[in-house]
């Protein structure tokens, strides 16, 4: 690692969000063809569409960017992805048009991600969702849940639930449920509910020994799965309650069984390993040096045993690393990556503890290191921007309170404005009642003292 790359920028080069460039970047994504390397995302065009429109929304540019005719056109396109029997396909690529029949419908199925992002996009565009087959979606959702409580991505042959049983699909399923029926539990209008208790148990089963959430029982903790799990728990109103929180206390099963440990794990995602050069191969080098430990003080070697270790120590400076930039990673001993700013910080926000990370240097890392000169964000410093990292970088800054960006809802990953639009819809009010007051004051401040105890 170059020493110079860790020095703070001088004077006039104050970190800043390049609004104009971001708007330009996102408008280009909206109005011109995406380059052909997006072909590997062709099956997830609704997801990409959601990111594009939502980014413009967060930038406050959705109104100026769209004519009334374009707005209606995009709404129409989203509806064109609706399956006649309910739910949305990921892209027009699987649509057989007039050839569709019961015999081939299984190859053109609705998917959980597409349905979530379709509903989100319609909300962003101000549609009233009256054209959505809501009842059918809710029935389908109950068929997407497995006996273990997890949700799949889509139904295959013989109604087999396909796709992983990890929290991604659980998150998006509970997101769909929240949008269409809030947090009301039990049947609504004769449509049965999913099994929320079993879902929460499934999440608890993915809790890891170090405090995160993994893809499956006993697998490795990962910030993406952790964020999806915590968001889902928030959307089904099953986050832990504070010890002294009497008004709503009940005996419903809740998720995150060891909150202090999860806070420990989430804050441990802050890292100084920012460049690929930093994340050097630690193969056969088990020593502690500035080359292998970027996460805090450069510890002097206690002892070392390998030749690679000796060389590594001799070649590295032993000074402290300055805290100009702090990145976030998604797993222990991994390099920082723009998307994990969101996956690691959003759960902290939902758990009422975003203040436990130092937002300033994380913001500087995003703005100075992964923000791209053409707008958008790359995965790592020097990487070209892509839709996924650009969206998650932007929405993280919004959650941090960046001036000029619209407020966002961390559970839905969408602007507060779009969320409130959903909550204002008469059909939804009839099911859910009036919008609940902001959760901000009711999040738990669980003052459990110790991580190892209990």
């Amino acid at each position: 690692m170059q020493e110079s790359s860790n020095r703070p920028l001088h004077g006039a080069n104050e970190s800043g969000l390049q609004y104009a460039k971001h708007i330009k970047y996102w408008r280009r994504n909206l109005k011109t063809y995406l380059p052909h390397h997006y072909t590997s995302n062709d099956s997830n065009r609704l997801t990409l569409g959601f990111f594009i429109l939502s980014a413009l929304d967060i930038l406050g540019d959705l109104q100026p960017a769209l004519s009334a005719e374009e707005r209606q056109g995009y709404i129409k396109w989203v509806y064109s992805c609706q399956i006649p029997t309910g739910g949305f396909r990921g892209s027009p690529g699987t649509d057989f048009g007039s050839l569709r029949n019961d015999g081939n419908a299984v190859w053109d199925p609705p998917t959980v991600p597409a349905t979530y992002f379709a509903l989100g996009t319609l909300a962003l565009l101000g549609d009233d969702l009256q054209g959505v087959k809501r009842r059918e979606i809710l029935i389908w959702l109950t068929r997407m849940q497995r006996p273990d409580g997890s949700f799949g991505e889509t139904l295959g042959l013989g109604d087999r639930i396909e796709g992983g049983n990890d929290t991604r699909f659980g998150y998006l399923s509970t997101g769909i449920r929240w949008m269409l029926r809030g947090t009301v539990e039990g049947p609504v209008d004769g449509v049965p509910d999913v099994d929320v208790d079993q879902f929460v148990k499934c999440i608890r089963d993915s809790e890891t020994y170090d405090g995160g959430i993994s893809e499956d029982s006993l697998h490795e903790a990962h910030a993406g799965f952790t964020c999806c799990a915590v968001s889902a728990l928030s959307l089904v109103d099953r986050l832990p309650l504070p010890a002294n929180f009497a008004p709503k206390a009940d005996d419903r099963i809740r998720g995150v069984s060891n909150l202090p440990l999860m806070l420990h794990w989430l804050t441990a995602r802050q890292t100084m390993t920012l460049d690929e050069e930093d994340a050097l191969d630690t193969y056969a080098d088990e020593t502690d040096s500035t080359a292998t430990c970027h996460d805090g003080h450069a510890f002097l070697p206690h002892n070392y045993t390998s030749e690679a270790g000796r060389k590594s120590i001799e070649s590295q400076p032993t000074s402290h690393f300055e805290m100009s930039w702090v990145g976030m990673n998604g797993r222990a001993n991994k390099i920082a990556d723009t998307c994990y700013a969101w996956w690691s910080c959003a759960p902290l926000k939902l758990l009422g503890h975003l203040e436990l990370v130092n937002k300033k240097p994380i913001r500087r890392w995003l703005l100075d290191k992964t923000q791209h000169i053409v707008g958008g964000f790359g995965k790592l410093p020097g990487y070209p921007p892509d839709i996924y990292h650009s969206y998650l970088g932007l929405i993280t800054l919004s959650m941090f309170g960046e001036t000029g960006l619209q407020d966002v809802d961390p559970a839905l990953c969408i602007s507060t404005r779009a969320k409130e639009h959903l909550e204002s819809l008469p059909w939804r009010k009839a099911v859910v009642g009036e919008p609940e007051p902001s959760k901000a004051e009711t999040v738990p401040d669980l003052s459990y003292m110790t991580i190892t105890g209990g």
Partner: protein, 312 residues
Amino acid sequence: MPILYGANPTWADVTPVPQEDGGPHPLAAIAYAEEYSEAMGYLRAVMAANEYSQRVLGLTEHIISLNPAHYTVWLYRAKVLDQIGANLADEISWLNPTALQHLKNYQIWHHRQTIIDKLGSPEGEGPFISTMLEQDSKNYHVWSYRQWLVKRFDLFDEAELAWTESMIEADARNNSAWNHRWFLVVGRKGGQALEESIVDREIQYAKAAIRKAPQNQSPWNYLGGVVRRAQLPASSLKDFVLEFADLDEPDKVFSSHALDLLADIYTQDEDKKDEARKALDLLAVKYDPIRAHYWNYRKGLLDSSPAAQQIA
């Protein structure tokens, strides 16, 4: 651009189905290569007709090479393999290089599971996984797949544990390898408690790794996990922790993780709140300032009422 299907007599009986893009304002429209557009047109046509044949197998292979995240093409391919009675070993031979080309793809692993499950044998999977891990030793999909394999074929044995040890030895900071050890040790027992001898062995193993690299978070997390799982008090690790962080010698701290654990041990002792505070201060100011907010929060909890400190 080569036209692979339109001018090919083998496909003359098929009329491709063009993509309908829902009006003049499509979202996230992609500048498809002509090759992809054409192949997709034929894929829609054969899917709509539920054709299961050798030529369709080739077509799915072509689509997968261009868009490996196409979820239904994988499900369709599995059905084709089934219907034409394809040799599943050949399918694995094709999957191997395909997986190497698409290291971050998810569907490929799901498909592999389906095939290996049907073949009913894990033979050859070990070497293949090693090849994958040579590309990226922390690839989440690969480790998850290995865990599926261990479960499916009940490979919770000494050989698997030895392999995991070799992975940790090669890179003590490979947290995936540490987690795999946990998967083996705890998973083998189902939900049951670990025998005392196993607990002891795991504690010694983690301690030895920490002595080599005290600032490596993976074995510390592992050690904490084992101690919690065995319901041992954190204080049982106090002597070990003092090897790396002793408040009497605040300039000779060799590991922030040791200091963290020491703070936790002191926190649980009503008479050691000042020591806990001192350890957390050292972390916030000197040894782990990157997480200063978190250490200060932990310090703040020292003063909160005992009632609020209990897990409900």
